[in-house]
Every structure is written in structure tokens, then in C-alpha cells.
Symmetry: C2
DNA sequence: TTCCTCCGTCGAAGCGCTTCGACGTCCCGC
DNA sequence: GCGGGACGTCGAAGCGCTTCGACGGAGGAA
């Protein structure tokens, strides 16, 4: 293994000079830097991560806690993870993957052993048991998602309430008066996952504001459940002409179900969804939708963390505004 | 921060004794160990990962390279990742997440900086550009998936060839004489991803062996493509009564497509798939299938790595035998 | 009883890096 | 012409842990 002293000797300088040349924390003359870089290259030097972490008290590793629970849509989680990794790399950090299995103990472990400098936590519940720990930890953290109160924390996410509202406003703007929400699986609400509830709140608030008749139905992520929910919505509100779907796996099944009940999309029924663009575009009738901007959220989370690591302070709440992409599934009410 | 010297002082022993008590690398009397454990608990000590890595030349971190490319089925990847993390934790290791973005440079970086002790690489191509690097690296690695030649490497995966064969044998055993394979998206074959090709090989070999008439069609992961492929298969082989699907996202669309063409499943057409059990069970007609045993593969990969890290040697190839679960989608030929 | 071995513990020497204070040197302003 | 910065570099002191050799004492064999 080639170490910094080898490089130093080869370049005819002291180890500290090599270190400074590498970190840029002190000025180094152009010529010396060049020599050092050449030596590094020739010798194939790469600094030992452990030694660096020990001496600098920075591991340059972030922890990412990903959810693997029922009812979550895996591809979206993966998008988050990928964007976090990419963003972290841009800041010269790596990402340690934690699952929720280990729970709070895992968070505490990686933080206490200084394995990581900071933490990113996904799939936050309204009353998440990890919150006290995160508040108490000496390492900064960012939550992707919002608990009941973000006090003393740093949270970032799509503004799901606004997303729910925006879907309704879009439908209302097209003249629809009777609308329904096909929601996430019941367990997601039972767990009090913030984003699902917030969509419902936004949906309901906007419906009331626009004096629309509305109803909300959680729905298991199976085609059969989709059919049941469609039937039920239609039975309760026969004049239904607009639907919002917040449940990725059954977007297409829901549309199929309504068509099976004799409603053409978008002829008789306008459909909007909160789901990734790829999904919305893949459906038989491309669906007007609001995407979760996973890349932005991931990058934003990392940026917030870097700010905190740099000693700066970060806002408690960062809400990204929803953007609705109009596709073929929504039309003015006939 | 509480360190090992603090624990040592508190317990009235030397730091090395604490270290040995923790690692078990030398015998420590029952009583001393108890005192040390008590001190650790009271003081809330956790060893500094960086210091440990520096002194012991082991970071206790594994790198996991996950694929994020077109045509791969994300939930399966996630299952692998989760099982790797779980297995790694059981061996007191953590997992560093790498995406393929950084490519070979990323592998080299985490290996050379001693950030990780070993590597797990997923989504291996037949002629994967990373192979020479993995062979040359001074750190052990395990591939999940098989390249053309596994010489000098350690690979583990479901035996996809056997899986393809098993699907055919099952259909042949039921009396079907004309069968088709709805494969993965074309780009997966173009990339020469081993597992997809091996299914085709197994399918073809078993079909020939059983003197079945067979044909193979790659298929994009969209319902429209599924419909086209179904039509085409049927046009070419009007007597078709058996189909193998190796393309998770369109399993249900393929069945819909055939039913749309007038074939009842399983009445007129038997369908088997290579896909996760959850998916196979979720379809309208539960599908006879072979699952990729993600948990086993992940755990196996970690075990192999641990063996190599312990100085042992690991077999170049570990193929897990496919297991076929019979469900409602296959029946004897009428 | 003597010698040897094994057990349990200690002290010290690093592991490879960063960082702090110090020390010339050069240049600028007065 | 001289004081004072800024610049560029060095040496040394750790960062917190593991590990190696050593050592005293207990116990068994001869």
C-alpha cells in the first residue's frame, strides 16, 4: 500500500504538504502542487479512508435509511436512493445503506461509531419513533417526508397537500363537480404516513373550497381491490366524472375498472394521478399526473445535509411545489 | 466522546484488555469481562469505526453495486439489496451503496481507499467491463449473476438455465407440444445480460429435448408490446398452448393479451413465469412460477464473501436450483 | 521440588492521516 | 531601509484503536 509519506518522499516535500495540496486547506504553490499530483498519479496513491476519518473526524459517509414496508412503491424508493447516492458523490461523500430492520439501534450505531457523518431518513411517519433519537443525536440528519411536527428537525419532500389540491383544482377547472380519490393501501394510513394523509387533506380542502362533491377511498394495491373501490365510488356518487389516484401499482387497474363499469376515460371520466412520470406515460391512456420529484428531493436532502455539516443552519421544512403534467386522461366535463 | 481508555480506566484494566474483551481474540477472565461490559454500558461506549479500521485494517463495510438500468425490474433489485444488508449485519458488517454511474472508477475508489473490505456486484453482463478490475483488485468480491466465464471470480445466482428448462419440462409434462417464451426487453439481451440469455438457452434446450415446437420473443415491458408479442406468437404458432413469461412488469398484460385473442388461461393456454412469488400470486389467475430466491442469493453472496475475507476459498460458481410453484395458470393440455 | 506451559493481563508501538504552530521568504508600504 | 503581512512549507503531535511481545502466576508433569 502506498501512503502519504511515500508520495511526500517521491515529490520531495513533507507529508503535511501533500495533505494540504489534497485538501486545499492551505495555499500550495502551483509548482509544488503539480509535482505532488504527478507523484500521486505515478505511485497510484489513494488516501486510506479510515485514517482520514480518524484524523479529520469526518468519514465522508452518509447513512440512508430506506423503507421496505408493505404498501410502499419500491421503484420510487429506488429513485430516491439513486439520487441521494449521486448527489452525495458530487459532494465527495458515500452512502451507507440501512434498512429499517435494525430500527433506532441501527441509527444510533452508525452515528455513535462515527461510521457516518450524517443521516438521511425516508418514509417518515407522523409520530415516528425515531424522531427523539434524531433530535438528540450529535450528527445532523434530514428527513425525506414530514412528521407531525418538524420542530428541531430538517425535512424535505414534495408538498403532497398542494399536490392533492392541484389535482382537484385541475379537475374543478375543467368543470368537474363530483370527484373521488382512490388512495394508498389502508395500512399506509394506519401507519400515519404523512404524505398519504396530506394528499387526502389537500384533496378534501380543495374539493370543499370549490364546492365539489367528493369522497375518499383507501385501496389495496391489487386489481381486485381497484375494481371494488371503483364500483363503490360509482355507487355512492353516480354522477362521478373525476378521479384522483394516489396508488402507483393500480393506476391502470383503476382505469380498467371504471371502463369495465361503462365509463370511458377520458370521455366520461377524467383521471389524474400522483405517480412517477414513467408510469403515467406507460398507461394505455397517458395520465395527467403530478410526479414525486425524486431526483430533486434526494439532491435537496443531500444539499441540506452538507449545509448542516458545514456548520450552517437549514430550514426545518422544505416543500417542493407540485407540477402537474397534462396528458390524455383529463378533459373538460361534457 | 467516550473512548476505549475511558472504559479501561473505569473498569480498572488496560485498553488492550478492553479491546480483547470486545474482540474475543484473547481469553479474558469471566470477571474482568463482566466489569468491562458494565463499564461500556455505563459510559455508553462505542468504538470509533475509523480508528478501528485504521488499526485493524478492516472497515467491516461491504460495497454493493446496484444496477439502475433500463429493463431491470426494480423490486427484485431491492429484494437483493435488502437481503444483502440483512446478511451483512449478521456478520457485523455494513453496506455501502454504489450505483453504476461511477462505473469501474467507483469500485476502484472504495477498494483502494480501504473504505470497504469486499465488494458485491449485481447485474453482471456476459462480457462485463468490470471483470478485469475485479480480478485484479486486492479485495475479494462476489458477483450476483454470471458472466461468460467465471474463472478467477466468485459468482452466485439462480440457475436460470435450469429455470428455463424447468418451466418447459412442467409444460411438457402436462402434455403441451407448442410453446412460446415471452422474454425480457430487447435491450437486456443486447446488453448480454447473462440471466436473460440463459433462460432462453434452457427454454430452447428443453423444448428440443422434448421435441416441442417452440419460439422465443423478447418483449418491451409495456402492455402494448405484450399484445403485439402475443398476437405474433399466435400467428406463427396457431396451436400454441403453453407460454413462459420472463418479464415481470407485463406478466398480467400478457395474460390479458392472450385472453383478448380468445384464449382462456388456463383453459386454452397454460402460463408459467419466472418472477417473484408476490407478483405471481397477485395476478388475476395466480401463475405457476419460479421465483428468484433473492433472500437466499443475497445471504449466499455475503456468506461467500465472509469465507473469502476469512482467508478461505470460495467456489467460482454457486448455482441455486430453481423451484417451481404450481398455481392456477397451468393445466394439462385438453 | 523444579521446570514448563498456559492463562490473563499489560505496555508500547504503530495504523495513515490531518492539523496546529512555527518558520523562513518575499513583497509591499511608508 | 525596515516592519509587517501573506505565502508556502515543515515537524510534531495526536486521532482512537489493535496487536505484538512480555510477564507474572497458577497448575501440571516429571
Amino acid at each position: 500500500m502506498v501512503k502519504i509519506t511515500d508520495v511526500a518522499r517521491h515529490a520531495g516535500v513533507s507529508p503535511s504538504t501533500v495533505s494540504y495540496a489534497l485538501s486545499g486547506k492551505r495555499p500550495i504553490s502551483e509548482e509544488t502542487r503539480r509535482r505532488i499530483e504527478a507523484s500521486i498519479h505515478q505511485l497510484g496513491y489513494s488516501p486510506h479512508a479510515g485514517a482520514r476519518a480518524l484524523a479529520s473526524r469526518r468519514s465522508n459517509v452518509l447513512a440512508l435509511v430506506i423503507p421496505l414496508r408493505a404498501g410502499i412503491h419500491v421503484p420510487v424508493v429506488m429513485q430516491f436512493a439513486a439520487s441521494v447516492v449521486t448527489a452525495a458523490r458530487q459532494h465527495d461523500h458515500d452512502v451507507l445503506l440501512l434498512t429499517q430492520e435494525e430500527g433506532e439501534a441501527g441509527l444510533r450505531r452508525v452515528a455513535d461509531t462515527a461510521l457516518v457523518d450524517a443521516l438521511i431518513v425516508m418514509d417518515v411517519q407522523l409520530h415516528d419513533p425515531r424522531l427523539p433519537l434524531l433530535r438528540a443525536l450529535d450528527r445532523p440528519s434530514v428527513l425525506i417526508g414530514f412528521p407531525q411536527s418538524s420542530e428541531g428537525l430538517t425535512c424535505i419532500d414534495l408538498d403532497f397537500r398542494a399536490a392533492g389540491e392541484l389535482c382537484v383544482e385541475h379537475l374543478a377547472g375543467l368543470g368537474h363537480r363530483v370527484i373521488g380519490l382512490v388512495g394508498s393501501p389502508p395500512e399506509v394510513y394506519v401507519r400515519e404516513t404523512g404524505f398519504a394523509q396530506r394528499v387526502v387533506q389537500g384533496f378534501t380542502a380543495a374539493a370543499d373550497r370549490n364546492r365539489l362533491s367528493s369522497s375518499v377511498r383507501p385501496c389495496e394495491s391489487t386489481p381486485a381491490a381497484a375494481r371494488r373501490v371503483a364500483e363503490r365510488l360509482l355507487r355512492e356518487q353516480p354522477a362521478l366524472t373525476g378521479v384522483v389516484v394516489h396508488n402507483e401499482p393500480i393506476l391502470e387497474p383503476v382505469i380498467d375498472a371504471f371502463e369495465g363499469l361503462g365509463l370511458r376515460v377520458p370521455g366520461d371520466l377524467s383521471v389524474t394521478a400522483i405517480c412517477p412520470d414513467e408510469l403515467a406515460e406507460l398507461v394505455r391512456v397517458p395520465v395527467t399526473s403530478i410526479a414525486v420529484p425524486a431526483a430533486e428531493v434526494g439532491a435537496g436532502a443531500v444539499d441540506l445535509l452538507m449545509k448542516k455539516l458545514g456548520g450552517g443552519c437549514a430550514p426545518e421544512a422544505t416543500l417542493l411545489s407540485p407540477r402537474l403534467t397534462v396528458r390524455a386522461s383529463t378533459l373538460p366535463r361534457p
